[in-house]
Subunit: 343 residues, 2 copies
């Protein structure tokens, strides 16, 4: 069988450091995956003014998957790299499922007092191509006392239904079979109504799945006070962004949170990345925890059908976490996990 082609975008800040460890593990697990590096992010932007040239986007389309480190740097005005690079990839490759497990590994200290490990075990299915991320909106009379600035949330039946269906499929495959829609239907009445009606309609096809609704404000509270309420959460792009960082916090920190930007039909490559950002404050110091990237590699393997390899990586991470010593640096953690995968 032909080699699996992987595009690697280390990106900015700690992105480079953590991706290097992800690749170590990928090599150790013994797959026929052949990585090609792409230099995209703040450095290229400063050098050439380019964020994501069309020719590169076209090339990336030909890969089987993408591994991304992190995008964003304080030297670039907010939004440029995020929108023209990261979000452009998500949109161009129609990554309508942004899959983010929120799972407490045994041995990890959650900041939530007295919460048993098994109480934090959910998966957030965040919509990835619509809502307030569409980027529509504008500004008028900028810089004057009469300035107005708008942002628009765009939601389509097409976009909502496909991600809701994906979430129901996920829910069906899990022991608890529970799906919670998180939104703000009492204020965002137009979008909320579309989301709620879609969930209600699709639910009829999944009688074995219990469905539930929770406002985003209440959900944020319940993530802290009763995380066991949640099994599969489906939500829009922005609410998903917020709640998965909160999820990372309760599940032991952003250093462990993996994600997949998925095109379920395989019409374009899916992209895997840690939930954390480029963390410029600790970049270049070998301090970043590469575990989130390594878990994203496990999700990537799983997506490519390499289920045994995916499981081996996840088990290696779980074993590493259970025995975590303090004070290890980025490459030490990577080496330790690599050793377990090989061994």
């Amino acid at each position: 069988s032909r080699n699996i082609r992987l595009a690697v975008i280390p990106g900015d800040g700690i992105g480079t450091e953590v991706v290097a460890e992800g690749l170590k593990v990928l090599e150790a697990v013994g797959t026929k995956i052949e990585p090609t590096h792409y230099d995209l992010g703040a450095a290229r932007y400063h050098r050439t003014g380019e964020t994501l040239p069309d020719s590169v986007l076209d090339e990336l389309r030909g890969y089987d998957a993408i591994l991304l480190g992190a995008i964003g740097d304080p030297s670039v005005p907010p939004g440029i790299l995020e929108r023209d690079l990261l979000l452009r990839l998500r949109f161009a490759f129609d990554h309508y499922v942004n899959l983010r497990p929120v799972k407490l590994f045994p041995g990890v200290a959650t900041p939530l007092a007295g919460t048993p490990t098994e109480n934090i075990d959910m998966i957030v299915v965040r919509e990835g191509t619509e809502g307030l991320y569409a980027g529509t909106g504008g500004v008028m009379r900028r810089g004057t006392p009469h300035e107005i600035a708008t942002q628009e949330s765009l939601n389509t039946a097409h976009g909502v239904e496909r991600v809701v269906r994906y979430a129901f499929e996920k829910a069906r495959s899990r022991p608890r079979r529970k799906l919670t829609l998180v939104h703000k239907t009492n204020v965002l009445t137009f979008a909320g109504d579309l989301w709620q009606r879609t969930v209600n309609r699709v639910a009829e096809e999944y009688p074995e799945v219990t469905t539930d609704y929770c406002h985003i404000d209440a959900a944020s509270m319940f993530f802290v006070t009763q995380p066991e309420r949640f099994d599969v959460v489906v939500t829009d792009n922005l609410f998903g962004d917020i709640i998965t960082d909160l999820g990372a916090a309760i599940a032991g920190g952003i250093g462990l949170a993996a994600s997949g930007n998925i095109n379920p039909e395989g019409a374009a490559p899916s992209m895997f990345e840690p939930v954390h950002g480029s963390a410029p404050d600790i970049a270049g110091q070998g301090k970043a925890d590469p575990t989130a990237t390594i878990l994203s590699v496990s999700m990537l393997l799983d997506h490519l059908g390499l289920h045994d390899e995916a499981a081996r990586v996840e088990q290696a991470v779980a074993a590493d976490i259970a025995e975590r010593g303090a004070g290890r640096g980025t490459s030490e953690i990577g080496d330790d996990i690599t050793a377990r995968v090989s061994g």
Copy 2:
């Protein structure tokens, strides 16, 4: 001096129960406040189809302040009471400051393991009249596979500047003198740019205040992992909604979270309400904790210039909380706090 006129809107669910206790305390603290009850909420809506008749809105305008319990009931389609009653009041009376302290009282168990009491002591200044709460947006081809639903976030220089100024004034008056803008400038680039520029500009007038910025996703994480990062938080309407419920969770629960919808110029009555909703699941059982309402009464007294009375109510609450027995019902808690205020 004339009596202070207070409009009381108990509203739905536990609203009635908690407001009754708030009024007990108000009476015990010995003010010349004369309450008038208004029957608004789900019951009236079902009886007459009315949410907030114009004549009632006009009448309410004549009061010195409003005490509100909670609005919302599952028997009414989502958004109707919220938008046509609660949000209408906030908008009509230009409550552009939604003030929500997030403070851990000594003796209250935070769900955050090992967090010292003094680490959770911030105040969120939430914008109350703009953003996605404007209610603009729409739906096309509803119920078809081609449906699109939009929501619009409207932000004005006028609206942003006044709340930012209020937040700087608050920050200046607190020992740490720190202000954090919470937004999502890297995705909501138009609105984010307006907020960030406004904070930067007003900051020049407040050299003694340290300013800081945090994305809403990161802020949600830091509320859990490093709440001591925050002193005064200023943010938009929706982010403020989310983060204050999260704030309530870390500060010991929604049963303790007070809020004020404030018109700082006094052009219309300000309105005080607990952050919790109508909680239909426990309504009518005498189980709801009235503490959040009683703390809202303290904020109300403070707003009316009755600073000693406000302090007495807050001290009574603090003392009650420090000795909290389990298993007290709504009116027991109210009676206990009332006894301390009178005694």
